[in-house]
Symmetry: C2
Subunit: 385 residues, 2 copies
């Protein structure tokens, strides 16, 4: 398959690109380097230096038969997307990660909010436009987030909801109530993509992904220069990765508020597998399909306890409840469905003590690289008075 990876320099984009190439697909990666600029802005670089995308592509191509091609540019520029990417490549599968991915970043101020929504919504609209023009039969695999749903008091279904109201029935888009400007941008994307499927017959799978954790995939582990970024800072770090780093650094695991916030989680290896399963089983023309892409549900406090238990083999760890910088329920109903990917054959990598211990061990070898100053949250959701 001709697979286009948008956001190919990122935590998930780069491993996804290698995964598809390793399985014999023709892969083009696109990135504009924006994420590394945002890292500078918030002072939160990955734990391990990440070689430039050019260098990683060169390293890959020197080792493997199936080559990866790269185009540097910004998908909010429609001409770039058409003339340099879709026109020449005519992708069959588009995996779209090219979004500003941080809730705290988007809550930094109205500039960051507007930038995030501009970047994500307009970028995705351009992808839809380029598909219509150059690849109307291609399959869009869009990375959404479980955070789009918020924490409703009813079961979370996979993107659609069958409901009865005043004696009549309909199948509607699942009502979403996201908790940050970033999460809202993904809700907007989902609505736009559903419309494009409905009106233009495009095919799309919206992967409402849980929180990803992990350091390595098969391909990143195959050569030191092929690693992917590993963030542990308050802006771009995801919670399990951050807790593992805090454990190693000897600082308390910072649980926001009570820690009852429950979410879906998955291993980075399962991200690749889910995207692959979606690509191999495409949506029908005109179909807007939503998969909830996570393998397990945990509360934040549970995760802290699990990391503490796993780290305990090496080090003493404490847990601190800090003031929650977010506006969110800390104690709520949460029951999200995730059967679609399992029924396509996903075999989850579960979050065991062994998995956590391995992460902690690997981080411990480079303990000196940890900058504890970037872990504590500085962005607050509440209005400044």
């Amino acid at each position: 398959m001709r697979v286009l990876i948008l956001g190919g320099d990122g935590y998930l984009g780069w491993p996804t690109a290698m995964h598809f190439a390793a399985h014999g697909n023709e892969v083009v990666v696109v990135d504009n380097g924006a994420k590394r600029q945002w890292e500078q802005e918030v002072g939160g670089t990955p734990l391990w230096d990440v070689p430039t995308l050019q260098r990683r592509v060169r390293t890959w191509n020197s080792m493997r038969q199936t080559q990866i091609k790269m185009r540097f540019g910004d998908i909010t520029n429609y001409h770039f997307l058409c003339d340099k990417v879709f026109g020449p490549f005519k992708p069959e599968v588009i995996v779209h990660y090219a979004e500003q991915p941080s809730a705290p970043y988007s809550m930094g101020g109205i500039r960051e909010a507007a930038y995030t929504q501009f970047n994500n919504v307009i970028g995705t609209l351009n992808v839809i436009g380029a598909m219509q023009k150059y690849a109307p039969d291609a399959h869009l695999i869009k990375l959404g987030t479980m955070g789009e749903y918020g924490t409703p008091n009813i079961d979370i279904e996979e993107g659609w909801l069958e409901l009865e109201h005043n004696g009549r029935r309909d199948r509607v888009l699942y009502p979403k109530r996201a908790g940050s400007w970033y999460h809202q941008s993904k809700v907007h994307d989902s609505h736009n993509i559903e419309f494009a499927c409905r009106v233009w017959g495009l095919r799309a799978t919206d992967l409402n992904q849980g929180v990803v954790y992990g350091i390595d995939t098969e391909e990143t582990a195959s050569h030191p220069e092929l690693r992917t970024s590993f963030h542990y800072d308050a802006v771009f770090g995801t919670v399990i990765n951050r807790f593992c780093v805090q454990a190693v650094a000897g600082v308390p695991l910072t649980v926001y508020g009570k820690g009852g916030q429950t979410r879906g989680y998955l291993n980075i290896k399962d991200t690749l597998r889910c995207v692959e399963l979606a690509a191999k089983n495409p949506a029908e023309p005109g179909e807007f399909r939503v998969f909830n892409q996570f393998t397990e549900q945990f509360s934040v406090l549970q995760l802290a306890e699990m990391v503490k238990a796993a780290a305990h083999l090496f080090i003493q760890v404490s847990i601190a409840h800090v003031e929650n910088p977010r506006v969110e329920a800390e104690d709520h109903y949460y029951n999200a469905k995730n059967t679609s990917l399992l029924s396509l054959g996903l075999k989850p990598h579960l979050l065991t003590k062994g998995v956590l211990a391995k992460m902690i061990e690997k981080i411990q070898r480079d303990k000196r690289l940890i900058d504890t100053e970037i872990i504590h949250p500085k962005v607050r959701w509440k209005m400044e008075k």
Copy 2:
């Protein structure tokens, strides 16, 4: 009250500004003149020339005691909005019309889609940001549209839906499924505004307005230089206004497809009254309130028959079913609630034969101004193959 009207040069913005001023409120209007630029772009100017906003403000101020102030600028420019508008004026009520308002315009291409969503979503985000900074207790009255809901097979409630699912209950945002990039932009706005209310305690009323018709309000009729724009072209003209012009021009009333498309409608005089009622009965801090702002439901074919019957007093009118340029159901369930504004005291101006006859009569006096070339739809919803 200090009332800020965003989009004060428009069909509804200008009459709203005068209405608030006539009732003794301090009014500032903001506009960037973009609508008149879009009119040039699509070649669809209003039936009657509309004096510049400056000139209309001068005329108003020369006649009336309560003066209107004007600021020329673009609300997608956050610095303009803060430094020239919110900072100096500190509004108590913000009536936000400053959006690209045409579904066909937004469907003209991906450039127009992206422009519409950028203009509307980022503009509204900036308004939210400026409120947070300068007027956190102000009441945002945002013009949304009934088109956000689409045509669900269940009753359309006012913005929120009480539902039961798998034995549990919740109150959720009403699931929307809009039918154009423009309508989608308003769905995005609604989500963003609800989030701002939830997280920052802002107060907002989202007016999901039906299709507006009519030529005059009390104030526009009080002096020829105070008139508002009256569009009848395929891009900016609303259906009743367009049918009246077609009747006068002696061309068939163009019903798209079967004409079973049912929507909510209201007289422009009721728009002003609804906005006034919302302003006088503000939402609570943190409340995101949605009113469905229409007074009657009609199918397109019903409207054509009504215009034909009313015009029959003067002229012979025919009805033509043309190929529907839109992708939409032409025969569907439609039952939308609109009790909130009625319970606040709205006394609807209904669409009687007399009202239509009066519109037709007024248009007939200036029949020579009609350009029939701009009435036929050129923008198609379907993908170009």
